[in-house]
């Protein structure tokens, strides 16, 4: 009797586990039989054909998880196989323009834990490993797992990232970018509407942050131009161009990013330096044979 119960329980667990995998691959098919259509085969916005104000970006957004879609972690989103036993979803390669000697030296100094140059975090120097600010745009790539939100006020649009609780202020009161700003972790941003496209320009970024977890660098000369456009009630597109003549010999034109209405709540996800320090001392560093002096 007990064996039968255990067999049934185990079979149920297997079924649940199998269905996890199946359901995880059916993003966007709500209202349809899971697996009947691939998400790319569905008309855009079909499942939620509701009216929207194209000048209202408010609310939670994240990148969709789709079958065969590699988690995006940079301006470009071409997949890369990292290692035989690491799922390719864990990384996507970045394709920056050719670097200047200054940029190449900075890139070479970055000891990363993702992509072809990956070393264990305990041997790396990724600022995030010690809870240093991720800065912008790096924090934006976290939207492949966590949501971010736009909050619109009469004179500003606030972009709030769940990861590290980053708040970016985009001024919409008509001011211009500062001429010679002191660098900030998240730079200085101004926004304006061009038709139904919200155009954000920014500068004044602190060069200690990385553009992505592949260690692609930037200088304090980096400028971003971002063009956000709602294409339907639940879809927001972003085109981003990065220029940084001190680091790259040409503008870095990103692949279009599609955000969808996040189906998850935003919650606190602080990176606590003291707590991560304890984790580094007791787990991450010992894992590579380093111990605290």
């Amino acid at each position: 009797m007990r064996n039968r119960f255990m067999s049934s329980a185990a079979a149920l667990l297997v079924l649940m586990a199998c269905s996890c995998v199946t359901f995880a691959q059916t993003y966007g098919t709500k209202g349809y039989s899971p697996g009947a259509w691939k998400p790319d085969e569905l008309p855009s916005g079909l499942s939620n054909p509701k009216p929207f104000d194209p000048h209202n970006l408010s609310g939670l957004w994240s990148m969709p998880t789709k079958p065969g879609y590699f988690e995006r972690h940079s301006l470009n989103d071409k997949p890369i196989k990292i290692a035989p036993n690491v799922p390719p979803q864990m990384g996507s390669d970045a394709y920056p323009p050719p670097m200047t000697p200054w940029g190449k030296a900075k890139f070479d100094a970055a000891k990363v834990s993702y992509g072809p140059r990956a070393v264990p975090p305990g041997e790396g120097n990724d600022p995030v490993s010690t809870c240093e600010p991720m800065g912008y745009p790096r924090d934006l790539w976290e939207a492949n797992l966590r949501p971010f939100e736009f909050v619109q006020t009469p004179d500003r649009v606030l972009q709030h990232m769940q990861y590290h609780d980053l708040w970016r202020t985009i001024w919409t009161d008509g001011r211009q970018l500062p001429k010679n700003p002191d660098p900030g972790w998240n730079g200085y941003s101004v926004g304006r509407w061009e038709g139904d496209t919200f155009v954000v320009e920014s500068n004044g970024y602190d060069d200690r942050t990385w553009i992505d977890h592949f260690g692609n660098p930037h200088s304090d000369q980096m400028r971003l131009v971002e063009r956000y456009k709602r294409v339907d009630a639940d879809t927001l597109e972003l085109d981003m161009i990065l220029t940084d003549p001190k680091t790259y010999t040409a503008p870095w034109v990103g692949d279009k990013i599609t955000f969808v209405r996040a189906k998850v709540a935003i919650f606190e996800e602080i990176c606590s330096p003291s707590e991560e320090g304890h984790f580094n001392d007791t787990i991450r560093d010992p894992a590579v044979g380093k111990s605290k002096p």
């Binding site: 079979a11 990956a118 189906k263 984790f279």
Partner: protein, 140 residues
Amino acid sequence: MKPKLITSLALIVALVMVSAPLLAHHGTGVAYVRDKEVTLKGTVTEWFWANPHCGLLFDVTDDKGEVVHWGAELGNPHSLSEAGFSRDAFKPGDKLTITGHPAKSGAPRLELLHLVLADGRVLPERSVKGNGVHLDDPGQ
């Protein structure tokens, strides 16, 4: 005998499928051997519930009777909560059976896959992504 074998196999398959995606976080794929597993019986010395990574320290007595201080790497508190863990899930002295991917360096550290408590309860209870989303929730 046969039902028992099927039960065991099914449980193993289920556990592997349920727990594998839980621990996808910063750079772990590089530090641990993802195609190997170790299972250890240990006694908890410290459990810390911390942002952005939780950790479990435990002692294991090896074949020679020597006590080895082990540690297991886990994900962020939110995703672990969704998977059935909690701040007070373990206390020093608790006996656990712990399975994970061993460190590439050979150091006594592992990336946790799943563990069994003294009362037979298994954690994680379900599979979640790093953002805490249940993988059995369609549309996420």
